[in-house]
Symmetry: C2
Subunit: 117 residues, 2 copies
């Protein structure tokens, strides 16, 4: 059955680890719990000063920026991104997302089911 929902009504999980991940939350919008067998749609919010960790893993990211301004750091460079931009992170590429502004930086990040643990 086709299902829908409002992203704001999905529980936001705080990701901060007191070290490398700061002012960050994640909402899982579509995944195995909704019957999705191939990939998972997550919505990340980085508040002012927020960031994900600088890391890599065997799965890719398909990202779409919803609001705010951010920086994507990867090997040897930084990319400025804002609403309407898309980002593809190949498997095993180092990457980090940072809020570069003063309002929440929000983006969708899709991964294969194997990448959402």
């Amino acid at each position: 059955m086709v299902i829908s929902g409002k992203s704001r009504e999905v529980k936001a999980v705080v990701l901060d680890d007191g070290e490398t991940v700061r002012y960050a939350t994640k909402r899982i919008l579509i995944g195995p719990d909704q019957g999705a067998g191939n990939f998972v749609m997550r919505l990340f919010t980085l508040e002012e000063g927020g960031c994900s960790s600088y890391h890599s893993h065997p799965w890719e990211h398909a990202v779409f920026i919803l609001s705010g301004e951010g920086t994507v750091k990867s090997t040897g460079r930084s990319i400025a991104v804002s609403a309407g931009d898309f980002v593809f992170v190949p498997p095993m590429d180092e990457h980090q997302f940072l809020n570069a502004g003063s309002v929440p930086f929000e983006f969708l990040c899709l991964v294969p089911v194997s990448g959402e643990g």
Copy 2:
């Protein structure tokens, strides 16, 4: 290598078939051409009066509404959707997307690579 781009700068392909698909365009933001091996991120724009066809197929859709107001028709019901809503269409479920307003109705629709021909 991490890549990014602006969705507005991606070529929009007109989908209108003069029959079941009206006032509709598609942009492929992330797919095999960008190195994505698992799934494809497409951005659809339905202008006022626009719609996709009512159909089904063996692959699922993971959808996120970016702007405007729309209706998702599926077996036995219609769902009103707007910016910030997500929609999951399971494999083989009948579905159709329609613009229900007077401004462009835009949404991301992700499919497995097998679903983007």
